[in-house]
């Protein structure tokens, strides 16, 4: 397993992948942080589109530091999903899987080692994304007159670590689903396309038009709830339990398929 982990780590150091992974992983949290702070108002005001501007009072809470990051943690998850799907499917489409399985024929160890390397990569992406967003928040907030004293309180720090943990956990489960699609479909484009189509428009259509209580059962909705530490659709623990069941079943099915299928 260590062999698979460490060999995958070489591939993850490709310049294009680093640029893409960190670029996409950082883009959404950074934009969200800038947007949240710059558009914050002292009193509640209607947003020109939908919803209302976030107020200074909300941002000055201990969890105000990671407000922007939490809002886009599902997007970090989608970045993770694309990364995992591409990493697994490309081995098939590029024809490199056969070379790898000749050197590591113990397929379960190979799959787990590769997965763990990607998990470590996405953990680094999440930590860097949150770190940059936090730094940016501390730089921008004083300029807007937003007090940051509660952010560095013990509650604020706990909230920040919780945000990192929830975003990371959601990203890993997104990644697991991406990896499963990559192994199943063996095409990076198809895997990513189907995954994004399911998580964004298809689940929205199902919940909006067919099955209103689907938010408690559909994986994309549950992942969004998990990434936010619970939301209006599902509590954190319900989302965690359901996703543990889905992820466990997916992992067992993919391990069985990969072990038996011709390479």
């Amino acid at each position: 397993m260590w062999g698979a982990f460490s060999s995958e780590w070489i591939k993850l150091q490709r310049r294009s992948l680093l640029l893409w992974g960190f670029g996409a992983g950082l883009l959404f949290p950074v934009l969200a942080t800038i947007f949240t702070i710059e558009r914050a108002t002292r009193t509640p005001q209607l947003f020109s589109g939908h919803g209302i501007h976030i107020t200074y009072a909300v941002l000055e809470q201990p969890n105000g530091l990671v407000h922007g990051v939490v809002d886009v943690s599902s997007l970090i998850g989608i970045v993770s999903l694309c990364l995992f799907a591409a990493a697994f499917a490309t081995e098939y489409s590029q024809g490199t899987l056969r070379n790898l399985l000749v050197r590591e024929p113990r397929r379960i160890q190979f799959l787990i080692g590769k997965f763990l390397a990607l998990v470590l990569f996405i953990l680094i992406v999440v930590i860097v994304a949150v770190g940059v967003s936090v730094a940016l928040a501390f730089i921008l907030a004083p300029g807007k007159g937003i007090s940051t004293s509660a952010w560095s309180s013990s509650t604020g720090i706990t909230d920040m670590f919780q945000a990192v943990f929830h975003a990371f956990l959601a990203a890993v489960i997104y990644g697991l689903f991406g990896a499963a699609l990559g192994v199943l479909l063996r095409s990076p484009g198809l895997s990513i396309g189907i995954a994004i189509a399911w998580v964004i428009p298809i689940e929205a259509i199902i919940v909006g038009a067919i099955w209103s209580s689907g938010s408690n059962w559909l994986p994309g909705r549950l992942l969004a709830a998990l990434a936010h530490g619970g939301n209006g659709d599902s509590t954190y623990y319900h989302a965690l339990l359901m996703l543990a069941i889905y992820a466990g079943a997916t992992a067992v099915a993919i391990l069985a398929l990969f072990r038996r299928r011709d390479a």
């Binding site: 260590w2 790898l100 050197r103 024929p105």
Partner: protein, 305 residues
């Protein structure tokens, strides 16, 4: 090595009860037309695909447990596949780490295939021939006892083909068993000692190449100083019980090499001056088509029955 090994993909029987046995320390050729089942057989031996039926052993271990023997096997499967954005060296490092092999082997194998100078360049800048050589380098990484090369000369120019021959010969000289598949029969004839011929998923011949070629028809071609003497030569052959025919300005005789001297003697005794006398040997290509044509005829007869 393999016994009654079969692989079926839905309606297609890609490998049909293959029995093969490759002696240790030889360069074995695995020949057959495209789609004959060579690559599938190789994939079965490497544990990449599961047999529908049959058993096989590689280096004494069952193919049901490839982890027990693949550390001692190097392989190049079909076209060489690498990560284009990584250098040749980094690609080999991926495989070295994965197989927990000795990292110092990377420089050794790069030198063996003469890629050291380009080792740090990205693979996407390599020519097909360089990728092929990198594939061979990857196969040599574990310092293997058995090397399996699937179409290693694909995409190589004549100089590259000659280099590849010398690499394979060098492996055999070091006591490494080499199994090389190809549809280029002249290549196989030039480098292999042992042959396995496959057609429509079935092994139609296996054994030493020399034995196969000796068993094939050899012939003698004679030229007379005066063309009119060819008829007399034909009569001499008939009297000796040899089949012969006049083909333009030569006489073609179906006979073993040793009879050429006898023909020369008899022609001299009959007052015929030969201006040329040569022995023709069947090539591997001739042997291949003789065997596969016979196999096709038998298959057609089976189908009709």
């Amino acid at each position: 090595m393999a016994s009654a090994l079969s692989k079926r993909y839905k309606e297609v029987l890609a490998v049909d009860g293959v029995d093969i046995d490759l002696p240790a320390g030889v360069v074995g050729g695995f020949v057959g037309p495209n789609g004959a089942g060579k690559t599938t057989t190789i994939q079965l031996l490497l544990g990449l695909v599961r047999p529908t039926s049959g058993v096989a052993k590689v280096l004494g271990e069952s193919i049901a447990h490839p982890e027990r023997y693949l550390r001692r096997v190097g392989a190049l499967i079909e076209s060489p596949s690498f990560y284009p954005a990584l250098s040749g060296r980094r690609n080999l490092e991926v495989l070295t780490r994965l197989g927990r092999l000795d990292k110092s082997r990377i420089d050794t194998v790069l030198a063996q295939v003469e890629l050291s100078a380009r080792a740090n360049d990205r693979v996407k800048t390599y020519s097909l021939g360089m990728k092929q050589r990198l594939g061979v380098a990857a196969a040599l990484l574990p310092d293997p006892e058995l090397v399996i090369l699937d179409e290693p000369t694909n995409g190589l120019d004549p100089a590259g083909i000659r280099e590849m021959r010398s690499v394979m010969r060098g492996l055999a000289d070091r006591g490494i068993t080499v199994l090389v598949s190809s549809h280029l029969l002249r290549e196989i004839e030039a480098i292999c000692d042992h042959l396995m011929m496959i057609d429509h998923g079935r092994v139609v011949f296996q054994g030493p190449i020399s034995g196969l070629l000796e068993a094939q028809h050899t012939g003698i071609v004679a030229r007379a100083e005066h063309a009119a003497d060819l008829a007399k030569l034909l009569a001499l052959c008939a009297a000796a019980g040899k089949q012969a025919r006049i083909d333009g300005d030569v006489l073609r005789v179906s006979a073993q090499e040793g009879w050429a001297a006898e023909l020369n003697r008899q022609a001299f005794a009959a007052g015929i001056t030969l201006s040329g006398l040569e022995v023709t040997r069947a090539s591997l290509e001739d042997a291949f088509f003789a065997i596969t044509d016979q196999d096709d005829t038998e298959r057609a007869a089976e189908a009709l029955a």
